[in-house]
């Protein structure tokens, strides 16, 4: 019983997309069709006062997940550690969860014909390993841990309000938090 969460430090993130590729390789993601996590370049400003931020698309493992509440068959569910998962056998492929996810976290898996998304690398986490994207990140910009464990780095960053959620207005209570770049 844990409440896993992730902090993405956009100050440290170099936009190198190592996380994206590690995820693809670890989870056999059909990248031609979709990705479990993605890095967007967000460009703002007027020369020379400009900024480029690397925003990460990833399942937020919401505590009030839109995807789960609309899923008819219970294929989308929250496991005992707060990780939102898809039971590919129970899924009928109605795509309601995709429509209802405010974070565009899901894509259709071309072979399974069901949605797929970030699993927080639950198979690794269960073995006591870090998610693939976290393990590989050169800048340590992705931090993973138990939000219920006050000594974990994620819990501290969230408690200090340094890491904040996005799309809070949707009331989904995401468990992925972002540290704002300067």
């Amino acid at each position: 019983m844990a409440r896993y969460g992730m902090v993405i430090d956009l100050e440290k993130c170099l936009g190198c997309e190592a996380c994206v590729t590690a995820c693809v390789e670890e989870n056999n993601v059909p990248y031609e069709t979709g990705l479990r996590t993605q890095v967007h370049r967000v460009v703002t400003g007027k020369f020379p006062n400009v900024s480029t931020m690397y925003m990460h698309r990833i399942c937020q493992h919401c505590e009030h997940p839109g995807c789960v509440s609309v899923c008819p068959t219970g294929a989308s569910y929250v496991n005992e550690d707060g990780i939102v998962l898809i039971d590919y056998e129970l899924c009928i492929g109605c795509k309601y969860c995709m429509v209802a996810c405010p974070y565009l976290a899901r894509y259709i898996h071309p072979e399974r014909h069901t949605p797929d998304k970030c699993t927080f690398c639950v198979h690794r986490v269960k073995e006591g390993k870090l998610p693939a994207c976290v393990e590989t990140c050169p800048a340590n910009a992705r931090i993973f841990g138990d939000l219920d464990d006050p000594s974990s780095e994620v819990a501290k960053l969230v408690a200090e309000n340094r890491a904040i959620p996005i799309g809070a207005e949707y009331g989904t209570r995401p468990k992925v938090f972002y540290i704002r770049p300067r």
């Binding site: 590729t21 670890e26 800048a139």
Partner: protein
């Protein structure tokens, strides 16, 4: 506001994402990720870029499942980048060359038949023999890309010996790093990229110029910079807003090619305002060395080092540097009736005219800002980053030399928070004797004829064009191209197409059907890095000293060989195998007989065992972990020049460079001298026309030059980045003047070569008005590459084939382009 455009783009994106379908499936996606079966982790070194990260290849049931960074390795600390991760896709890329190929049709077309190794190697050997019989083995040449240049140099030298030709070169020397390496070397005695490392862990203030660590990522620099990002102030000079600029505290959009002026103005401020570290300069540099009329006053050799006089303020007389108590840095003295000044005083006088106001006019950076940075830099004992790639301008060598001097002025040399010298630099490079190219080398003769000061290094790859096409200084008729994407990375592609067409016989060793293979007569497919055992290599880039290697993780997927095997087998067919091993023995410092017998029992792994025995490396530890560390950071930092002399002629940091003085003596009108001075970039001599721009380039964090653009996963990331990495960046104001809108097709034409290429415009605010920016490495023409990003430009068409007379490098940004709507 999300504009209508963005929205439409987003919709278009979804549409393509959905319609694109699946082109290529490396394996069944539905396959469970937690599949059982035998799992093993095999150590290796990533070969997706030159940064040499240590990796563990995870093999499941004989198939590479994933690649991980080696935990705690001093280079990459368990991390790897996108390319490192996507290495799996290189191994299983169906575009790979799967068997030796022999040409059947016209050059310039893909007409080959598959052949056995026996047939292909014998054909090559018989060709080589023809030249031997002709009495002209020197008509054979060889080019190696960064991969062979980084790992197999001694083997190539041995192979050249076996072929009997002096004409081989690693292209990165002239195309990548020579001016930068020589610039640092002129002050410190070394300076290639694996030898220098900014101490990001302890840095207080970092100035990064002409470099893009966060974009041209090497994990070693990437993690050090990224993980420590909040600890130091970062100033980035770049004509465009790079990935590194995006992480900076201050971005200064400097005018291309003018960093030298900025650094000179920094020197001016630091020296005039006396912010320099006089203790460091007086003790560990030759700043106190007495000069008369700009030349060393008195110099003599002693114990392999140059000795000279300084003015000892304590004794009131000139003495040899090391016996001085208080060497004078400034002032004018009379010694033996001659007026002499310390080198530092000469420097001070030299930079007196290089005021921030002067630099402002050249660089477009406000004088006040330069002043402020110079003061902050000195106050925090900052560091100017080492750079990596640096052949871009006529003044490249001097720019990096200036960086070395600025670091020395504040004493940020091989200490905490300064510029570190790696283990490779301090324990390997210093011991290696520098070799001159043989006088009959085509490269050397060509460069000497053109008055290039560093001709003796034999690195000017440009010579091959004249040798092939104009037989100048003599013909090259047969060419080996090994792991080098010649038509994508050599300047002025048109000329090289002409040259390759003219060749009598060309052998290409590669893994993918790249453009230049269309001109090859025989193609030899190499095994990829995870499919091979490799020799022992010193650990590079890291604040540590040790060795690492590659251990074969899987059997070759196709009928491929190790390039070393190819070289030995060709040598054997020529009857020169012993020559090969003898030459190799010299290069590796291992007994030739041993090398040969070990090789014949164990293959390339045998060479590694022989090396390990010679170097006293624990072989089991090496094979299980992939690396052994012999000395850590503590043995390196504060070693040179504090305890050990630097490999400079004087053993000290050279404010007066004997090397540059020597170079200057070799040419007619040197535009440099032994100190430092302003040299404008060539492009500044031309006034830009209304549709003309300077062109600057870099890399994307998820591609390596042109060799990864066919990697299906990395190509997908490039496509997903849309115009950001695929387009050419044009400032919105200039674009508006030219009627160019975002996403428009444009024609980019080189003012100098006249060649052109099409590109897509990324109209933005991220680049100077006088400059366009592009990521290079895309735009291949080979139809056999099925994954490459579409509609990107071929940059190699736009750079003229040229050289500077100090370093012989390609001056790859001394070019101006015209942009018009397609």
């Amino acid at each position: 506001m999300v504009t209508r455009r963005d929205f439409l783009k987003a919709t278009a994106l979804t549409a393509t994402a959905i319609s694109a379908g699946i082109k290529f499936q490396p394996r069944s996606y539905a396959e469970a990720t937690t599949a059982g079966g035998e799992v093993k982790f095999v150590p290796n070194i990533c070969a997706m870029c030159p940064a040499a990260c240590s990796i563990q290849v995870e093999v499941r049931d004989g198939r590479v499942h994933r690649i991980h960074g080696t935990p705690d390795h001093p280079i990459n600390n368990g991390k790897i980048c996108a390319r490192g991760n996507a290495g799996v896709q290189r191994v299983y890329n169906p575009d790979r060359i799967k068997k030796p190929l022999i040409r059947t049709g016209e050059k310039g077309t893909w007409s080959f038949r598959e052949a056995s190794w026996e047939e292909a190697l014998s054909l090559i050997a018989s060709k080589v023999k023809e030249y031997h019989e002709m009495g002209h083995p020197e008509y054979i040449g060889m080019l190696g890309g960064w991969l062979p240049c980084t790992y197999y140099k001694p083997f190539f030298k041995a192979f050249l010996a076996a072929l009997g030709t002096p004409n081989g070169v690693g292209v990165p020397e002239a195309l990548c790093f020579i001016p930068k390496a020589l610039g640092w070397k002129s002050a410190y005695g070394f300076g290639t990229h694996p030898e220098l490392l900014t101490d990001y862990e302890n840095a207080r203030y970092v100035i990064m110029l002409r470099r893009n660590v966060a974009g041209s990522i090497s994990v070693v620099h990437g993690w050090r910079l990224g993980q420590n990002r909040r600890k130091f102030k970062l100033i980035v000079l770049d004509p465009r807003y790079s990935e590194t600029a995006a992480k900076a505290d201050m971005w200064l959009p400097i005018k291309p090619g003018t960093d030298l002026a900025f650094l000179l103005a920094m020197m001016n401020v630091i020296i005039n305002e006396k912010h320099y570290d006089s203790n460091f300069l007086a003790k560990y540099s030759n700043a106190p060395m007495l000069l008369k009329d700009g030349k060393p006053f008195k110099v003599w050799d002693e114990g392999g080092k140059k000795k000279y006089l300084v003015y000892d303020l304590a004794k009131g007389t000139a003495v040899e540097h090391d016996s001085a108590v208080l060497p004078a840095l400034e002032g004018e003295y009379e010694v033996d009736g001659e007026k002499v000044i310390p080198a530092f005083e000469a420097l001070k006088r030299r930079v007196a005219e290089y005021t921030p106001e002067w630099a402002e006019k050249i660089t477009d950076i406000e004088a006040e800002k330069i002043r402020e940075i110079a003061r902050d830099f000195a106050l925090h004992k900052g560091v100017v980053d080492s750079g990596w790639h640096g052949p871009k301008y006529r003044n490249s060598l001097l720019t990096w030399r200036a960086a070395a001097i600025v670091n020395a002025l504040v004493g940020s040399v091989n200490n905490d928070g300064g510029l570190l010298f790696t283990g490779l630099a301090q324990f390997v490079s210093t011991k290696a004797q520098t070799t001159e190219a043989p006088p009959q080398s085509v490269l050397r003769m060509w460069a000497e004829k053109r008055g290039i000061a560093t001709a003796f290094l034999g690195h000017t790859v440009q010579a091959f064009y004249d040798a092939i096409v104009n037989e100048d200084p003599y013909p090259i008729k047969m060419l080996f191209v090994v792991g080098h994407n010649l038509l994508m990375n050599m300047p002025e592609r048109k000329k090289w197409e002409e040259a390759l067409n003219k060749l009598d016989f060309m052998v290409a060793v590669d893994i993918l059907p790249q453009d230049h293979l269309y001109y090859a007569d025989v193609v030899l497919p190499e095994s990829t890095y995870v499919e091979k055992d490799d020799p022992l290599f010193p650990i590079a880039y890291a604040p540590a000293f040790g060795f690492h290697t590659r251990v074969k993780a899987i059997e070759p997927v196709y009928d491929t060989k190790h390039v070393i095997e190819m070289m030995v087998e060709i040598s054997a067919r020529l009857g020169t195998e012993d020559t090969f091993f003898k030459a190799l023995s010299k290069g590796l410092g291992v007994d030739a007989e041993k090398l040969k017998t070990y090789y014949h029992t164990e293959g390339v792994a045998g060479i590694r065992r022989a090396q390990a025995e010679a170097k006293g490396v624990n072989y089991n530890e090496l094979l299980s972990k992939g690396y052994v560390v012999k000395a850590g950071r503590d043995k390196l930092v504060y070693n040179m020049p504090y305890k050990e002399p630097l490999p400079t002629p004087t053993g000290k940091v050279e404010i007066f460079s004997f090397m540059l003085a020597n170079f200057a003596s070799k040419v007619q009108d040197p535009y440099w001298d032994a100190l430092i001075k302003w040299v404008p970039p060539k492009v500044s001599e031309r006034k830009l026309g209304s549709n003309e721009f300077y062109m600057v380039y870099s890399r994307s964090p998820f591609t390596t030059h042109s060799s990864t653009s066919d990697n299906p996963l990395l190509a997908k990331l490039i496509e997903d980045s849309e115009l950001y990495y695929k387009g050419i960046w044009i400032n919105s104001e200039r674009a508006a003047e030219l009627g160019i809108r975002n996403g428009d097709r444009v024609v980019v034409e080189s003012v100098y070569t006249g060649d052109k290429t099409e590109a897509i415009a990324f109209v933005n605010e991220l680049v100077r008005k006088d400059t366009i920016f592009t990521v290079s490495g895309f735009g291949q023409r080979s139809e056999k590459l099925t994954n490459i990003p579409q509609r990107a430009m071929t940059m190699a068409r736009l750079i003229p084939l040229q050289f500077d007379t100090i370093s012989g490098a390609t001056m790859s940004q001394e070019t101006i382009v015209r942009i018009s709507k397609a």
